[in-house]
Symmetry: C2
Subunit: 105 residues, 2 copies
């Protein structure tokens, strides 16, 4: 594969944003920290794939996973500062979609 | 697959943005209209896949394909008004990547 003239930082951002479901997961977590099941019910994604994506986003430093040691144990996902800084991208996407995407009535 | 509570417009935008290479192709075309070979040399993508993505983006009304009837025929790709309206998303991605992505020195 030939090398590209693109900025490696931008390429990495595109890689994170372009990974299927990441945008919808980040969009979902912009509201507040959430449990796995509430993210899963809001997005048409399988539990296995959601778990995989959350792990990757955690490794990227975009998502924080908080374990509350109670019975049964409670786990909540939230955006880190780095994750929250993605909000302007998501808001511009919302704006574009309102202006340019038609949906069947 | 269960239905989701997401805005269908936003989901469609996420689908376009999340399709691998679309962000890099759109980023490339924000400069000026370009020929296939110059897009291909700027992005680490195969010719076959680039051709597929350009066709999809054309069908989405995001890319315009202009054929100049000369010999040999010249084909140029450019962003439509709908495509150019994606610029704020790309610029926010550039900004985020400069602030939050570290690259090996």
């Amino acid at each position: 594969m030939k090398s590209s003239s693109l900025c490696p930082r931008f390429e990495k951002c595109a890689e994170v944003i372009s990974k299927r479901w990441n945008v919808l997961i980040i969009h979902q977590l912009l509201g507040d920290s959430q449990r796995f099941c509430s993210i899963e019910s809001a997005i048409p994604i399988s539990g296995r794939l959601l778990s995989e994506r959350l792990k990757e986003l955690e490794q990227e430093g975009i998502v924080n996973r908080e374990v509350y040691p109670q019975t049964p144990v409670r786990i909540e996902y939230s955006l880190t500062e780095k994750g929250r800084a993605l909000e302007p991208i998501i808001r511009e996407m919302e704006q574009w979609s309102q202006e340019w995407i038609e949906v069947e009535a």
